[in-house]
């Protein structure tokens, strides 16, 4: 029998594939105005209402990276950026589950590119959207006197990308294990809220330690705390190496779990089919 010659896909083809996936995510984001607006309004509500209400309740002492006393709005701004990324990661995950239920996931999965590459592209597409949203938020937050040094706006970019990758990869893992769209709301409650509240996003952890040592440990181990601190330090031109290491480590673990979850032999596709 004659066999066809195997021609590996050239690097340029990989680049085109990734660009196409990112472009599609961008188009969907632009078309889904509700998603765009709510992603911006959510942190602004926290900034304009929650922070205003709590600014005199929660005093913030001088802690790194800040060099002086800061208003509460300034303290929670990095946490709100991390929240944008967390919601965006979960939103991407939701759209993966939706795509699967609607069938469009199959289009992605029958592409000749390796599955890990397709998932990575999907992840990067989500991160690109999250980074743009974060900068728009930073632009608006300037009017609340959240004015990090000019270098901070540049230095925060790698932090945004790293934490976006971690939270997006977490979303991918979740999407690979969730069978139906209806199950998603419950998981959101069990992931988003605990991650956000048990972190340094809204209050410095020394305050948490005063109340509960156990909770302080939970907050310390929560990778969302690391994402928040990475962004916080970067915004003031500094690097929190420990947080960076945790974020990179978690990204690798979550991504490996997502690739395993989307493996046709083991993950969701096979399990879901069994249910049909």
């Amino acid at each position: 029998m004659l066999q066809t010659k195997l021609r590996p896909l050239p690097p340029a083809a990989y680049a085109r594939c990734m660009a196409g996936i990112i472009r599609r995510e961008g188009l969907r984001w632009v078309h889904q105005r509700g998603r765009f607006v709510s992603a911006l309004v959510r942190p602004l509500v926290w900034l304009a209402i929650f922070a205003a209400g709590f600014r005199f309740v929660l005093g913030v002492s001088i802690i790194p990276p800040y060099e002086t006393y800061i208003p509460y709005e300034v303290y929670i701004a990095p946490g709100l950026i991390a929240m944008i990324e967390l919601f965006n990661g979960m939103q991407s995950s939701l759209s993966m589950v939706y795509d699967r239920e609607m069938g469009s996931m199959k289009t992605l999965m029958v592409s000749p590119f390796p599955r890990w590459f397709l998932l990575l592209s999907k992840l990067l597409a989500g991160v690109a959207v999250a980074v743009v949203q974060s900068y728009i938020f930073l632009g608006i937050a300037w009017f609340w006197e959240i004015e990090p040094p000019a270098i901070g706006y540049l230095a925060v970019l790698p932090a945004l990308i790293l934490s976006g990758l971690m939270l997006g990869a977490l979303g991918l893992v979740m999407s690979s294990f969730i069978r139906q769209l209806e199950n998603f709301a419950g998981v959101m409650n069990f992931v988003i809220f605990p991650m956000f509240f048990a972190s340094s996003a809204l209050y410095p952890l020394w305050r948490v330690k005063e109340s509960s040592l156990f909770l302080w440990w939970v907050c310390q181990l929560n990778p969302f705390t690391s994402a928040t601190e990475l962004i916080r330090f970067a915004l003031y031109g500094r690097v929190d190496w420990m947080s960076a290491a945790v974020v990179i480590g978690c990204t690798v673990v979550f991504m490996a779990a997502a690739v395993a979850g989307y493996d046709p032999g083991r993950g969701l596709m096979a399990r879901k089919a069994g249910a049909e």
Binding site: M1, L2, C17, R24, R28, K106, T107, A273
Partner: protein, 247 residues
Amino acid sequence: MHEPAAALEIDGLTHRFGARRALDAVGFRIRPGEFTVLLGQNGAGKTTLFALITRLYHAHQGGIAVFGQPFRDAPSAALARMGVVFQQPTLDLDLTVQQNLQYHAALHGIAGHTAAPRIRDELARVNLGERAGDRVRLLSGGQRRRVELARALLHEPSLLLLDEPTAGLDMESRGFLLNHVRRLCRERGLAVLWATHLIDEAGEDAHVVVLHKGRVLATGPVPAVVAQAGGAQTLKDAFEHLTHAAN
């Protein structure tokens, strides 16, 4: 002399979901330029077979070869030569026809300048050239199916798989799709696997694979399958005879 490789060769393919055996030692082959109808009632295992051929699930037992290359050894090469129209609609309703096709071209690594004329030509062939800028949501069911067919051909596959492509379509749309795909077989030498439960979609010149409860009951050109059913006059008679006997 070497025999040209089969476009698709399935050999002893068995697949289980838990204790349930969805496919049982399925085997058949499709040659280039051949229009093959995979005939089976709902639940016969057609969609499972498609999912295995397209790598949505792993094939644990049995073999799948695309143009002589075992799928397991080179899934990327196999998928690159395959165009697929799934039973479930897979277009993004919020994007335009053009954007959907551009996305598909990107998923196959095709450059924009190569994709643009192909998109124009394929859409023109399915009479949708003027709808390229419309959102898919605005198209009828039949038009969406035609877009999916145009999309499946963008990367110039040699093997086309269609899973119940006419489900839910009116007679005119059904006829259009069927004629278009048959023409592709003749003109481009495309090998086609067309899964359906509608017996009349297999013309007299088609090859047929009768799949029932996960097993292949008969395979070959229509007259040969009719003959296998002893006493049957039509493919419909033969199908009923074979499936009743297997129950």
